[in-house]
């Protein structure tokens, strides 16, 4: 098991070094990238075989239980999918012209991309809260380099904002972790410093007011990284300026990782603080996030910013799910994470293709896609229905459970407010997508670019989200994994 983990972490690191060295040609890099991704996927599957959902793997630095396997699954799925899809994306980008200026850019792209996924996997595997913080800080820095990959003016601006806001947030989180460590010191001495397993078992010994202060800092810190309301300002800029695949990973995998770390801290803190204060805190920030997303979705020009704000809205829903803290709602939040990651990746990829086809990000100038590019249009339509939480796709079921548990909790007004805010989001997104799809095409599209290599992957991801939503009970392994994970979050760790 230990060797598997080392293998999984080592491979991307090695490939990153190879890619940066510029030793291989671009074509070789494309193929090598795919091989590495599939091998890592294989190793992960092998790990799944060895460890059944109920079991826990505990070693000196690494800790693996159902919750981290679930989030790791999300990251790995996105990793393999984007690896297979990036070749056609980069080739098109190359044809479009801007990539052709400096030869080694594709190598640099692959290196940063693999390092990015490596750091995310590291965050999910580590046991120590401090090291988790280090991992999260590393993801921020590497993804910053990826966001500023094109080094255009707006990319620079977006990266600067991304780094400043996130590092400020992360510092607050570090302060929170320090205070938590201080609380652990005063309560149970110095051994097993900040180890998550130890803290989650002895959570109730900690001094309540100290842990509350610590959790406030941790919540604001990792809240910035997740993209909660007042600290969300970096999110639209970073997602709209990054290359499409990377923004797909950012919104799908990175946001899920930071949410994972927030959940880890939440499990420690709940026994002492109790759920009352936490629920209000989560509700306030979640509803603020969704409310802020609505105006930006209704009046919007840029297609990727539209998707960024819809990610914000989904983050708000997840935080509400966490806030209710009942087993149904937490299970629904984890399911929501998986669905959202899949669908958001597909949508960002399609947005990238649309931008390459029409040479513009401005949605106001894209019309008549149904005639011009029917292939992309159908996928865009399906993606839009998926992200708006329409039934056949998985998001509907997780949204249904979260809102129902909100009603079950007695907050009728909050539930109704949330449903109408989601209707507001629909008004915005639907209008923009309809403008793009229908009507007569004024600008000639470059071509129907969604060719045969990547459509099967998108189709597989969408069908996966349908399967996750409709027939989760039928999938044996995933279902028990989800139940076990939500049990960990709600019931505290039982070894």
């Amino acid at each position: 098991m230990q060797t598997l983990i080392y293998g999984m972490l080592g491979l991307p690191f090695v490939f990153a070094l190879i890619a940066i060295s510029g030793f291989f040609s671009n074509r070789a890099l494309h193929i090598l990238n795919r091989i590495i991704a599939t091998i890592v996927g294989g190793i992960f599957v092998e790990m799944l075989m060895q460890i059944s959902p109920g079991e826990v793997f505990n070693s000196e630095y690494f800790y693996l239980d159902a919750l981290s396997i679930w989030v790791l699954l999300i990251v790995i799925v996105l990793y393999v999918a984007s690896a297979w899809v990036s070749k056609s994306y980069l080739v098109r980008e190359h044809k479009m012209g801007y990539l052709s200026r400096t030869p080694k850019l594709i190598g640099r792209y692959y290196a940063l991309y693999h390092m990015f996924v490596l750091t995310m996997m590291l965050v999910l595997l580590l046991k120590n809260l401090g090291l988790m913080w280090v991992g999260i800080e590393a993801t921020t820095l590497i993804s910053a380099l990826l966001v500023s990959f094109k080094f255009t003016r707006s990319a620079l601006e977006a990266t600067w904002k991304y780094i400043m806001v996130c590092t400020v947030g992360i510092c607050l989180a570090l302060l929170g972790t320090m205070i938590l460590y201080y609380a652990q010191l005063t309560a149970t001495g110095t051994e097993k410093a900040l180890s998550w397993l130890w803290l989650s078992q002895h959570g109730d010994l900690l001094n309540p007011s100290l842990t509350k202060l610590a959790f406030l800092f941790i919540f604001i810190g990792y809240g910035t990284k997740v993209g909660l309301a007042p600290m969300h300002t970096w999110l639209p800029d970073a997602y709209s300026e990054a290359p499409s695949l990377i923004s797909g990973l950012l919104s799908g995998a990175l946001c899920t990782c930071s949410l994972y770390v927030l959940i880890r801290n939440l499990i420690i803190v709940i026994p002492t603080i109790g759920t009352a204060f936490i629920m209000d805190l989560f509700f306030v920030f979640a509803f603020l996030t969704i409310a802020i997303a609505v105006p930006f979705v209704v009046v919007q020009r840029d297609i990727k910013r539209l998707l960024a704000y819809s990610s914000m809205e989904n983050i708000g829903i997840m935080i509400v799910g966490l806030g209710i803290f009942s087993s149904i709602s937490v299970g629904a939040t984890l399911l929501h994470m998986f669905n959202h990651a899949l669908i958001k990746f597909v949508l960002f990829y399609i947005a990238g293709t649309v931008i390459q086809e029409y040479q513009t990000k401005n949605m106001m100038r894209i019309h008549g896609m149904v005639q011009e590019a029917p292939h992309t249009a159908t996928f865009l339509l399906m993606g839009m229905f998926a992200i708006l939480g329409m039934p056949p796709f998985g998001l509907f079921f997780s949204k249904f459970n979260i809102i129902f548990s909100l009603f079950k909790n007695g907050q009728y007004l909050l539930g109704s407010l949330m449903i109408f805010l989601l209707a507001g989001i629909l008004i915005g997104i639907l209008y923009h997508v309809m403008r793009m799809l229908c009507g007569r095409a004024k600008r000639k599209a470059y071509a129907d670019l969604l060719d045969h290599t990547d459509t099967p992957f998108l189709a597989v991801l969408l069908i996966g989200s349908i399967a996750l939503g409709m027939g989760l009970e039928r999938i044996p392994y995933l279902n028990s994994l989800l139940l076990e994970a939500s049990q960990i979050v709600v019931g505290g760790v039982h070894l």
Partner: protein, 209 residues
């Protein structure tokens, strides 16, 4: 240990007042030196051997030598704007920092009534909020980096004062992160300078809505 925290607070207030880039980097270097000193003293005080000395040496190496050297090289490259044109006069930032210090003291008394080292906790929270004020009030890219570093130092001091040093692995991780963060920030400021011909972040206003 308490006296060093007071000195660091004083230097942070000084940091707020400085307008010139070179002086600001020098002040940052001073802060890091104080932190390194505090780290060495606490390391030697309660235990010997490499474990206690290593953090101190690392701070000196990273925060006192490497980072200021990088910033000085950067400032050297900015031919025209060595002198900083103060758009927001410094009194507001000092007043705000004082207010935040007072606020953190009130908060610590409210939240943790009979805590042991009350003033260390309060002053480090104050230091972090002063760092925040520094970033918000200055529009120069380098000043924002310096603000960020003051926040880092504040947190590191808190860790040091309260818990007599974190486990070495975490210590190393944090240093590594701080170093990479500054490295990336310096690369970006260079790019900023190349494409925008200025490092004033007010120029970065195009991504709206």
């Amino acid at each position: 240990m308490e006296q060093l925290v007071m000195v660091l607070l004083f230097v942070a207030f000084l940091q707020n007042r400085i307008m010139d880039l070179r002086k600001a980097v020098a002040c940052l270097c001073l802060q890091s030196a104080i932190i390194a000193g505090a780290c060495l003293i606490s390391g030697l005080a309660n235990g010997n051997g490499l474990h206690s000395v290593l953090p101190g040496l690392l701070t000196i190496l990273v925060k006192v030598c490497l980072i200021p050297y990088a910033l000085f090289r950067l400032v050297g490259k900015l031919t025209d704007e060595r002198e900083l044109v103060a758009d927001i006069n410094t009194n507001y930032s000092t007043a705000l920092s004082a207010f935040f210090l007072m606020l953190s003291y009130v908060l610590v008394d409210k939240m943790l009534p009979g805590i042991g080292d009350r003033d260390i906790m309060a002053s480090s929270m104050g230091l972090i909020l002063i760092g925040l004020v520094l970033i918000v009030m200055r529009s120069r890219a380098i000043m924002q980096i310096i603000g960020l570093m003051t926040m880092e130092n504040g947190i590191y001091l808190l860790g040091l004062a309260m818990t007599e040093g974190l486990p070495t692995v975490i210590e190393l991780g944090i240093f590594f992160d701080v170093l990479v963060a500054v490295l990336v920030l310096v690369i970006l400021t260079n790019r900023l300078n190349v494409s925008f011909m200025t490092t004033d972040t007010n120029v970065l206003r195009r991504l709206k809505g």
